[in-house]
């Protein structure tokens, strides 16, 4: 109890003397940074989960082309789960003289189980029930294309229905490109009376299930093995894979960015802890002399250390919570989406990380205090007890490694980033040491104060190198925050430029080739690139017949069993990239180009001969090149492309992707009316969502890097404090020996200029390297750095460190030497 009180007393006094400030500041920033990312990502993830649930209208959805066996519904009901069924089919909807192919969905009461449908029946509101019998709800596309209004009557099959509402926000749509048609929602009880339920009707059945998560999971596990070939089960995990990928990628990036702040915090903490230990050697020696056991000394400081950790973690957590809340408020789309509140797990994770940092960077130096020799009370020249360097660095690296693995979420990514970072730090430290010694060796070419400065830095070579590395990290964060970030974000967002195609045109017949192009010209839209498409099945590789059974891998089996979309071209699409081999010349024939991924899956190599079956007739070609395809480019892509003569004579249809500006949406409707057989698929919503996430992530990255920058400044502060005592002592001796304050000032500024210049140089190198790594491995984009980063790095480093150093040391040159020496 006494020991605790003494600890608190010492903590209070030490706090006043500023001993713990850097340590606390660094820790608060590290925890704050990690908590911001964790909480923010958690909210987005939860929102996505809810969105995905509302998208499939349930927790679990089974779709089938045949009626479900009754035991599906019974099993779910037995588990106390809610179940409703819907039946969907394509049918013509007629209004006056016009008809339009639409997707009709007949739903049972209770639909949907998750998410809400918003309708406009005079006012926009959430639908409380399903359409009343004799009425339907239609979506905007149907109303627009048929010039319908709410209240009009439409014909579906043998019946007429009143359009009771416009669907504002729809759910339970098919994922992917099948949801191209306008939608109509009707009461399932009316379905029989339409007369559309006949043999051969293309009905699709959906069983929606919702309830307790554990029971849903159990049901899924129970039903999944027994599913027939035409039944498919989906839950929220399967929904929106493209958005999930974007989020996961962004989360990794953010997590690693947050860890940059953690590494910097570690550096600041290590410097601060070292200074703390140096300043407490005397006190510990006195206590040892007065009878304190090693254990008592350890606990005395450990209590302070733990208390500090708790306070820092609490403050860091609060900071993180506030920052993510501000962040969400500042992003309009998120504010409007009323994101769910974050869970406590990210906070606990950040807190645990904070304690791990404290353990990794401050614990071992502190542990040395218990070993202070009591003899120091008589012999002050006795230094700090030596601890094993391996142990100190090993623990720090070990803690960092664990944090990286934990936050990166992937062993490969975590180890790669940490390994690269540590190798870089060691290389920079070693280079700094070498350069400082090189300068000292050649110092006789320089003026006295420069000579003195170089020798000072070289004498403390290891410490100076540590300072250079720490300052480089801070500088690197600053450069990454400003220059590299701008480059990266531009390149990243540039992946989906604003004119990214947002519509697909499918099923254009050869005789419509020219009329479609003419239509585009009339609408003042750029001419679409129409790609021919022939469907064919791969039947042999190098004349060896293949089937699904030839492959153990389910994906390969699927590919071998289904028909491919094949195309022919003279030139490779510009959005494809040649991976190996050569694209064909004009006169070439019998050649094939295969997408790299599918080639790997099916075991196809350059030089192989592939045989395809197209509607009963066969053709063969030799693979002369493999292509890389960006599937998220929203453009038309093919697994296999052939030289023109191979496919030209087969029956083909054409397809295209194009960008339809928002002000020309009506041109799309006109196209559908002019060419009723052509499918116009709207991919704009998906693109908007992916781009929205990217924008949100970009803003979060800025906030996270702000933490990194602040922590970098904490490192600078800690580095200056760490050497202040020694500088002060040296200044006093030099003053005693006749150095005037101008000389001292110039000496200090020279040292800071060298430190700052080197730090800036390394910071620029680190930032360019980090930018490249992030671009190449995390964001998957090309990266070109700007040459000015080197000048800004070195110049900025010198200016900032000289300024900060001047502020920290300006009084040293003015204090009477005896006062300093007596205090020492």
């Amino acid at each position: 109890m006494n020991l605790l009180r003494l600890s608190l007393n010492l903590l209070r006094r030490d706090w006043r003397a500023g001993e713990w400030r850097v340590l606390l500041l660094a820790l608060v920033l590290a925890v704050g940074s990690l908590a911001t990312v964790g909480l923010f990502a958690d909210r987005v993830r939860q929102a996505l989960q809810q969105q995905a649930q509302s998208l499939i209208g349930a927790d679990l959805r089974i779709t089938s082309t045949r009626p479900f066996p009754p035991d599906y519904r019974e099993s779910a009901t037995r588990q106390n789960l809610q179940v409703v069924q819907s039946r969907t089919f394509p049918s013509m909807v007629s209004f006056r003289e016009q008809v339009l192919l639409s997707e009709i969905q007949a739903v049972e009461a209770g639909y949907p189980l998750r998410g809400k449908i918003e309708i406009d029946d005079g006012g926009v509101h959430v639908a409380q029930a399903i359409p009343a019998r004799g009425t339907v709800w239609a979506d905007e596309r149907l109303l627009r294309r048929l010039d319908l209004n709410v209240g009009d009557e439409v014909g579906i099959g043998a019946r007429r229905f009143t359009v009771a509402a416009r669907i504002v926000k729809d759910i339970d749509q098919s994922i992917g490109f099948s949801s191209f048609a306008p939608r109509v929602l009707m009461n399932d009880a009316d379905l029989a009376s339409t007369g559309l339920l006949q043999e051969g009707s293309r009905l699709s059945y959906r069983l929606l299930i919702a309830g307790d998560a554990v029971r849903v999971k159990a049901l899924r596990t129970a039903l999944e093995p027994g599913l027939s070939g035409n039944e498919k089960m989906e839950d929220v995990r399967d929904a929106r894979p493209e958005i999930r990928t974007a989020l996961e990628r962004a989360e990794h990036f953010l997590g690693l960015a947050a860890l940059t702040a953690a590494i910097l915090a570690g550096a600041a903490m290590a410097l601060a802890a070292r200074r703390f230990v140096l300043r407490h050697l005397d006190g510990c020696a006195v206590m040892r002399c007065l009878g304190a056991q090693q254990r008592q000394v350890l606990w005395l400081f450990l209590n302070q250390f733990i208390l500090l950790g708790v306070v820092a973690v609490l403050l860091g957590g609060l900071l993180g919570y506030a920052t993510q809340a501000l962040l969400v408020e500042s992003i309009a789309s998120m504010r409007d989406a009323s994101l769910p509140q974050p869970g406590v797990l990210p906070l606990l994770k950040a807190a645990a990380s904070g304690f791990a940092l404290l353990l990794g960077f401050a614990f071992l130096p502190l542990l040395q205090l218990r070993k202070v020799s009591p003899l120091r009370v008589l012999r002050r020249e006795m230094g700090m007890p030596e601890a094993s360097g391996w142990l100190i660095y090993g623990l720090a690296v070990g803690v960092l490694a664990l944090l990286f693995l934990w936050h990166a979420g992937s062993l490969k990514l975590g180890l790669a980033v940490l390994g690269g970072l540590l190798a870089g730090l060691l290389a920079f430290g070693w280079l700094a040491w070498l350069l400082l010694h090189g300068l000292a060796l050649n110092s006789f070419y320089f003026q006295s104060q420069w000579r003195h400065a170089f020798n000072n830095l070289a004498r403390h070579g290891r410490n100076a190198a540590v300072q250079v590395v720490a300052l480089s990290l801070g500088g690197m964060a600053l450069l990454v925050l400003t220059l590299v970030r701008a480059d990266l974000l531009e390149a990243w967002q540039g992946k989906l430029p604003p004119d990214t195609p947002n519509r697909f045109l499918v099923n254009i017949q050869p005789d419509q080739y020219q009329p479609v192009r003419d239509f585009f010209a009339r609408q003042s839209l750029p001419a679409p690139e129409l790609q021919p498409m022939v469907r064919g099945r791969l039947v042999a590789i190098n004349e060896r017949a293949i089937s699904g059974d030839s492959y153990p891998d389910p994906r390969a089996r699927g590919l071998a069993e289904r028909e491919f979309n094949l195309s022919w071209m003279e030139q490779m699409p510009v959005w494809n990239e040649l991976a190996s081999g050569k694209w064909w010349t004009e006169k070439a024939n019998g050649e094939l180009s295969v997408e790299e991924g599918v080639a790997k899956t099916l075991g196809i190599h350059l030089g192989d001969t592939l045989t395809y079956d197209v509607a009963g007739s066969r053709f063969a070609g030799r693979v002369t090149n493999l292509r890389k395809v960006q599937w998220d480019s929203m453009r038309v892509n093919f697994f296999v492309i052939t030289t023109p003569e191979l496919l030209r004579d087969f029956p083909a249809s054409y397809l295209s992707s194009f960008y339809l500006p928002p002000d020309k949406v009506r041109a799309g409707d006109a196209l559908s009316r002019a060419f009723p057989n052509i499918l116009l698929i709207d991919t704009g919503a998906v693109i908007a969502q992916v781009r929205g996430i990217m924008d949100q992530i970009a803003q979060t990255v800025s906030a996270v890097f702000l933490f990194t920058l602040l922590t970098g400044l904490a490192v600078l502060y800690a580095a200056l404090l760490a050497t202040q005592d020694e500088r002060s002592h040296e200044a006093a001796i030099l003053r005693t020996l006749g150095a005037d304050s101008r000389y001292l000032r110039r000496l200090h500024l020279s040292e800071f200029a060298v430190l700052g210049g080197l730090s800036g140089l390394f910071a620029a190198a680190g930032a360019v390297l980090l930018g490249w790594v992030l671009a190449r491995f995390v964001l998957d984009i090309p990266y070109q750095s700007d040459g000015s980063i080197w000048f800004i790095g070195v110049g900025g480093g010198m200016a900032v460190v000289m300024l900060a150093g001047w502020v920290a040391t300006r009084k040293l040159a003015l204090r009477p030497p005896l006062r300093i020496l007596a205090a020492d």
């Binding site: 006494n2 003494l6 002399c289 007065l290 056991q293 090693q294 008589l378 012999r379």
Partner: protein
Amino acid sequence: MASIVQAEGLTKQVMSGDSPLTILHDVTFTVEAGESLAIVGASGSGKSTLLGLLAGLDVPSGGKVMLHGADMFALDEDGRARLRGELAGFVFQSFQLLPALSALENVMLPLELAGAKDARQRAADSLHQVGLSARSHHLPKHLSGGEQQRVALARAFVTRPRVLFADEPTGNLDAATGAQVIELMLELNRAQGTTLILVTHDEALARRCGKQLRLAAGRVVPG
């Protein structure tokens, strides 16, 4: 009288470059309880090294020290610390007060380390004895040199030690203040019947102690 400190063949060697340097040669003497011993000699004669060994602050290269019957160097570092806490008090040339603690808290420190319950009261009494009650809440940096050494005396005597080890206690003080501090120390010493072992190069101060041990180049020489 029983002996309280007994040194037998104390030798201390350190490495100076590649060769060993002997700082203390085979020092043997005994101090009885309640006695006062002045260790005198020129700078570098080994006085402080001997004091460090007697108090168990350092370990010798040879020989042994018995403190109140306990073989100091048969104990480990923590054992010696415990023994110091129980038996010894210290006064140093550079006062060695903890800068973060007030005068009162500095005096409380050895009691709190020993787990005493009435530390505050005893420390306040001790400060009163050295005439510093009014300054008890001041930090060391706000006290004069003489006051700091009086706080150190209060801290040294608050545990009622059997032995007081003093290393040049007036070395950092002017003559008048030094004399006052010495008077106070000897008075407390007498009042508590403490054994005093004092390192000094002040011959006048040394003569006020019952015994003198003169060192030259690490050896005991006749006074």
